[in-house]
Symmetry: C2
Subunit: 281 residues, 2 copies
């Protein structure tokens, strides 16, 4: 949504790297790991692990010294903040949006609900399934649906703009489809990464979110979706206030958490324009 000629992440101007996160199905994941680490045996992954792997990719594979911008949405925002904390002298700018540096207790409850649903399906079988636990993934998707967009998004039937004729079609054609192409153990692995998300847990900060965010040297553009139900503007603004050189912006949108996901042109233009400003600074 942000990559392309004339967009903020313009390949004619920048060398752009888009790594898949651990557990997401392309990078090492429960679904593709060697047998002793496959499926339910996949190790617990933190965002520090993700950033450690990405750091090696950037420095060892590409030989890059400084990074003009680290940017990401949602769990990508988590990794962006971890980058700025782990490598303060490498990262010139960051633009995390719709994500936090530490998973909030309410967000953890939301994730706990998702975990309870997926693991409830008998077909899940403690992760040693033959076929995917389809019913569990469908229920997971339906629970997620209430969190992923805002109350006014549903009231205004904005899913019609996405081509869905009814609420049920949207639940099936967007939400269930979105998760049915995933592997259940991969979903659970990423839930675990999300639950553990906390830049303050970076060893040198001894558990202090304040110290970790206060150590960031990058110029930061921190954005939140106005109606995001699990990465709330209030939570994100409170964290942004702990970053020395941060500009906090709210995407004026009723698309909830999905305001940052490229589904709505106005939201995407807002995010794109803000990142252009950041890159020009």
């Amino acid at each position: 949504m942000l990559i392309g000629p004339g967009k903020s992440l313009d390949p004619d101007k920048y060398f752009i790297i888009v790594p898949d996160q651990l557990g997401n199905g392309l990078s090492s994941s429960p679904s593709n790991a060697a047998s002793e680490q496959a499926r339910s045996h996949f190790p617990v992954v933190t965002n520090r692990d993700n950033v450690a792997a990405q750091y090696r990719l950037v420095t060892e594979k590409f030989g890059i010294g400084n990074i003009a911008l680290v940017v990401g949405w949602s769990m990508g925002a988590q990794q962006t903040l971890q980058w700025a904390v782990s490598h303060p002298d490498r990262v010139e700018r960051i633009a995390p949006f719709c994500g936090t540096a530490k998973t909030t207790p309410h967000n953890a409850v939301f994730l706990e609900g998702l975990r309870a649903v997926l693991t409830l399906d008998a077909a899940w079988n403690s992760g040693d399934y033959d076929g995917q636990p389809v019913a569990g993934i469908r229920a997971f998707a339906r629970v997620y649906a209430g969190w992923g967009f805002s109350q006014p998004f549903y009231k205004q039937t904005l899913y019609r703009q996405m081509g869905f004729g009814s609420l049920e079609e949207f639940l099936t054609g967007f939400w269930e489809k979105r998760f049915l192409r995933r592997d259940a153990n991969n979903l659970l692995s990423m839930l675990g990464t999300w639950q553990l998300n906390d830049v303050g847990a970076t060893p040198e900060f001894g558990g202090s979110l304040e110290s970790a965010l206060g150590s960031i040297k990058a110029r930061a553009l921190v954005m939140a979706g106005q109606t995001d139900l699990y990465f709330t503007p209030e939570d994100i603004e409170a964290e942004a206030a702990l970053i020395p050189d941060a500009r906090f912006r709210v995407v004026p949108s009723v698309w909830g958490h999905q305001a940052g996901n490229g589904l709505n042109a106005a939201d995407t233009q807002f995010v794109d324009a803000e990142i252009k400003n950041l890159l020009a600074s």
Copy 2:
């Protein structure tokens, strides 16, 4: 929480009737119905059905003509609004709080998620279970937990005020306990009533929420919890604006939907004082 000497609903001043709603386990419910209507064979129940039964209780059993006040929280608020629409000449005042006259699309999505979870448990067995589907009810409770209180409630660890030492204790000791004493078919029956909630579906209003709310003759005090995630202040305020003689008030609280449930003294005092004012008018 509101009934007692010196409180708004003072038994020394008023004759107070507290009916259990259909499906809730005391009134006729899947768990206690005669065999041909028991369990999954229990008929679909609407709030109009609830109010029709309550109307007969009030008029035929007690011979009461006019009602000074109909009051209720959550699904009780739904029934309160249905009372005012179905019997405009019987009801002098209403005080619905933390509930709507018509279930919103987002609220329906939340309920759809809950239904998907409970019916996912193999032990549910399409409603013909021997023992309760305990794992399904636990997962149901964990999903509900994210919706029932607000994001800042969890951030401020206000569950400690309720005697729970940790988030996990709260999920288990409050949420799971709250639903494990319920019958699964009863829960599903009430979910169905909630999903169908719409005063506009009262036959003489032909589906028009506006006409139904516009017909209310009672003096109305309509309250919302400031941080309620599924009966939002915005949704409730929009409905209150359609009631001719309505006062809209927001309970200033981070207790989410539970602001109306008597768990927090400040919220309860706010609601109680407002109802006292209404009764004095």
